[in-house]
Amino acid sequence: MSKSNDSPSGNNKGDLASIVASNNDLSPASVKQGETGSISPKPSNSNAVQVKSEKTDLPQFERGIVDGLVLKFGDSIKIIYVKPLRIKIEVPPKDIVEVARYIRDEAGFDHAESVSATDYPKTGDIEVIYHLGSYTRENLSSQILALSTRTDRDNARLPSLIQVFKSVEYHERESFEMVGVYFDNHPRNDRFLLPEDWADIPPLRKEFRIKGR
């Protein structure tokens, strides 16, 4: 596993730059902290892009998987990054079931390792990432395909992938109660880990504050 060679996919350079930018400005508080802590050099956006463009050897195998996806779905797939062993793509919520079905049947990823929802109050949306892996195909066993989608954080609704990957059942249920994303077609969107009398907002939303150390 080599360290830190992000490499942009050739045909989506514009998209990539915009995503990097949007990832940079996450929350106002955190950005302020980065500015005040001036002892260590602040990693700037342009620097990060430069590092990426210096890297010339693209991971061939991962590019192959991505090219297949782009060929099938075209513009609806945004490629966030292609690193060795790691791919991340973003699709709009309306296409996610279709893309997931293609990934399962054609690309060979057969189970979900984790489903994590992240709250971004700055951009006003919630990102849900499915980390998909493969047990059946030998050459995919080390790969993780991160399939992500974004939804509005005030009315967070997404189609559930339970018809495609049975293994997301408890993970999606956990995301529902921790971040408050409602999954359509999921059999049980209810309490799982929190106490039965929990009457607060979902705890992993950013406006839920704990005391902290």
Partner: protein, 171 residues
């Protein structure tokens, strides 16, 4: 006075007075015997609340072997238990269950709070789902600090509890 008591109408009174005298006379030896029995057969409830249960399991193992100090391995029904070892963090979901278990146990019952989380909330004091110490919901007899406490510490804590039982009066 004795003449007053020895007649059929005051018989009940006499029996109760005699009972008092008997209890006063036998309190010391009888209490000692009963407490001795309690000290050497403490039955802990099989209720694990968090990760300290690993060290509790190790304490029941062959190297530390708490059975030689009179603590039987956690088995059986809670109706015959008289000791709750709160093994670590008590979350908000577990707290009503812990209280329910404590209420269902017969008297006398003792509580050991094991680990920093059970005493004050410990490492998780700022978490949204953790109680800051169990003494808010059940009365605690002995606090055993550590995160997690070593089995030796747990044994010392139970010996302190035994000292307490030995000194306590029976009802």
């Amino acid at each position: 006075m004795i003449k007053d008591l020895v007649n059929p109408t005051n018989f009940n009174l006499m029996v109760s007075k005699l009972g008092d005298i008997l209890v006063k006379a036998l309190d010391k030896p009888l209490g000692y015997a009963i407490n001795w029995g309690r000290v050497w057969s403490l039955w802990p409830v099989h209720l694990e609340t968090a990760c300290c249960s690993v060290e509790f399991g190790a304490a029941s193992g062959p190297r530390y072997d708490v059975e030689r100090f009179g603590i039987i391995e956690a088995f059986g029904s809670l109706r015959q238990c008289d000791l709750v070892v709160v093994q670590g963090t008590v979350t908000r979901k577990m707290a009503p269950r812990l209280r329910m278990v404590y209420d269902q146990m017969p008297e006398p019952k003792y509580v050991i709070a094991m680990g920093a989380c059970a005493i004050t909330g410990g490492l998780y004091i700022d978490s949204y789902n953790v109680l800051p110490g169990v003494d808010g919901i059940i009365p605690v007899d002995v606090y055993v600090p550590g995160c997690p406490p070593r089995p030796e510490t747990l044994i010392q804590g139970t010996m302190l509890l035994q000292e307490k039982i030995k000194r306590s009066k029976i009802k």
